[in-house]
């Protein structure tokens, strides 16, 4: 309950920040729509020249694009702004005030900044997923649908855990402003199924920067490519990565010595 009240307080503050720049918000949404148009056009061009992409149909790729939108929302709406704030606060020492408050530090560091207009991506992503599933015949079984939903959430957890480890690294290497660029850089790979990538790239996006766990894997579950054990394995991996990440965070906090005070 307490956590929910805090979340809604963060939300209100960030809505006020957004309302200060109304024109910006509208322009940003327009640009966002333009890139969506671009993504659909590129799919159109690809499927103008072929009927399937490594076994994936157009509908499945549109649903994948929807999941990619959700991951993108997580990165651009939450991870990116909070990283900027966090990096600045480690450098100038204002992280002290965050740590002094009687709230879980990781929670505060993760949610104090939100780019509110990105909520728009949630609607867009959901729309694309539904359209995509319809287009590919809607042959998904209830088991596939449920494991798709669970794996989408757990994939986002993996990305979030990786982020925690990356920003916690700042405690050991103070000058580490590029900590999340690697995540941002490989994000673009989530638009297409990792199964078509050459082996080395598939390894990178599955194990090093697991974008594929958050985009390709849920879609594979939806297509019925994964059996129950595999779904459980992926859920287990995401739980484990979150546990490891929160351990790393705690160790990092202990290491932190403050910059100004």
């Amino acid at each position: 309950m307490y956590i929910l009240r805090l979340l809604s307080a963060f939300f209100k503050v960030n809505v006020q920040m957004m309302l200060a720049y109304r024109a910006d918000t509208i322009v940003n949404i327009l640009i966002n729509l333009m890139w969506l148009g671009w993504e659909l056009l590129s799919l159109n061009i690809i499927f103008h020249n072929t009927t399937n992409l490594g076994g994936w149909s157009l509908g499945e790729l549109i649903a994948l694009l929807g999941v990619f939108r959700l991951v993108n929302m997580l990165v651009a709406g939450l991870i990116w702004p909070n990283t900027e704030k966090f990096n600045a606060s480690v450098r100038d020492g204002s992280l002290d005030y965050t740590l002094l408050q009687p709230v879980n530090s990781l929670f505060q560091v993760s949610f104090s900044r939100m780019v509110i207009w990105r909520v728009w991506d949630l609607a867009l992503g959901a729309g694309l997923i539904i359209i995509g599933i319809r287009m590919s015949g809607g042959g998904a079984t209830p088991f596939n649908l449920v494991s798709f939903l669970f794996l989408t959430v757990s994939g986002a957890m993996v990305i979030y855990s990786l982020w925690i480890v990356l920003i916690a690294a700042t405690f050991w290497f103070i000058k580490f402003d590029n900590n999340v660029t690697i995540l941002q850089a490989l994000l673009d790979s989530g638009r297409y199924p990792a199964t078509i990538y050459p082996g080395w790239l598939r390894l990178i996006v599955t194990f090093v920067v697991p974008i594929a766990l958050a985009t390709t894997v849920p879609l594979q579950a939806l297509r019925g490519d994964l059996n129950g054990w595999q779904v459980l394995l992926f859920l287990g991996v995401s739980g484990a990565s979150f546990l490891v990440a929160s351990r790393v965070w705690k160790a990092g906090i202990k290491k932190y010595s403050g910059a100004s005070s």
Binding site: T50, G54, R191
Partner: protein, 265 residues
């Protein structure tokens, strides 16, 4: 004048070296999309033998050449200049007796290019090992013929990018327009896919736009894929656009500086 450029080069080169870690990240960021598209088209080509006459090797050579060509023709003026107009720090540059864009911004662009290029070479060689391209169609004369196209592409891109950034004199912020422009460039330059695979309308439009000089034309010349008469026509279109962009830039700069109110400084 040459002396000024030499000194500016030293300053900008040193400045870029400071941010070499950022440069590597930028390179990585920038490499992902072409490699992903390459993987997409190899998959399509392999599943049906060829796409519109293009084999898997054609795609590999196209995208690997693209990595080098786009690095050479790309322009980062908006990142260097927009903030200066926005916060008014351009005032200091205007006091100097040299054109700020055609000296400092231009040299900064080139220094950035040179340094990222040094970083790109080892990564490019690794990608060659991974994708096994067959570059047998490339000859010394094709490289020679493509060099003016690359210079033309960079010059036009630089002038158009500067013109666009100068719109900040009127609008203060130009990043939204910049993003729209980037989308146009990706669409019409051949950066997403070789232009012959685009819908016919886009192909026709691209022939009359300056953007194919940034990417498609130099690549096709290097790979010896462009018939001489098409090449001549593309060069002609490119030169016309160079002249247009020179006039555009001159005009926007002259009118813009008159309006410049040095907000914030």
């Amino acid at each position: 004048m040459l002396h000024i450029y030499r000194r500016l080069w030293q300053v900008n080169w040193a400045e870029q070296w400071q941010y070499r870690a950022n440069l590597l990240m930028y390179l990585l960021y920038w490499l992902v999309s072409p490699v992903v598209y390459l993987a997409v088209w190899i998959t399509v080509a392999n599943s049906q033998g060829s796409v519109n006459g293009l084999t898997a090797n054609d795609f590999v050579t196209y995208y690997l050449t693209l990595l080098i060509v786009v690095q050479l023709t790309s322009d980062i003026t908006i990142h260097l200049l927009a903030s200066k107009i926005q916060d008014g720090t351009l005032s200091g540059d205007l006091l100097r007796p040299i054109h700020p864009i055609l000296t400092n911004i231009l040299v900064n662009n080139i220094a950035f290019k040179a340094l990222t290029f040094i970083g790109l070479i080892p990564i490019w060689l690794i990608l060659c090992l991974l994708f096994h391209p067959d570059f047998s169609s490339v000859t010394f004369s094709s490289l020679l013929l493509a060099t003016p196209a690359i210079v033309l592409g960079f010059t036009t891109g630089f002038l158009l990018g500067s013109t666009l950034t100068c719109l900040a004199f009127w609008t203060t912020r130009v990043y939204a327009i910049g993003e729209f422009y980037t989308a146009l460039v990706i669409l019409f330059s051949g950066q997403f896919v070789p232009l012959q695979l685009m819908p016919p309308t886009i192909q026709r439009l691209a022939e009359f736009l300056p953007f194919q000089m940034f990417c498609y034309v130099p690549i096709e010349i290097i790979l010896n894929q462009m018939p001489p008469e098409v090449m001549v026509r593309n060069y002609a279109v490119g030169v016309v656009w160079l002249i247009i962009s020179m006039f555009l830039f001159n005009w926007v700069w002259r009118e813009g500086v008159k309006r410049f109110s040095a907000v914030g400084a």
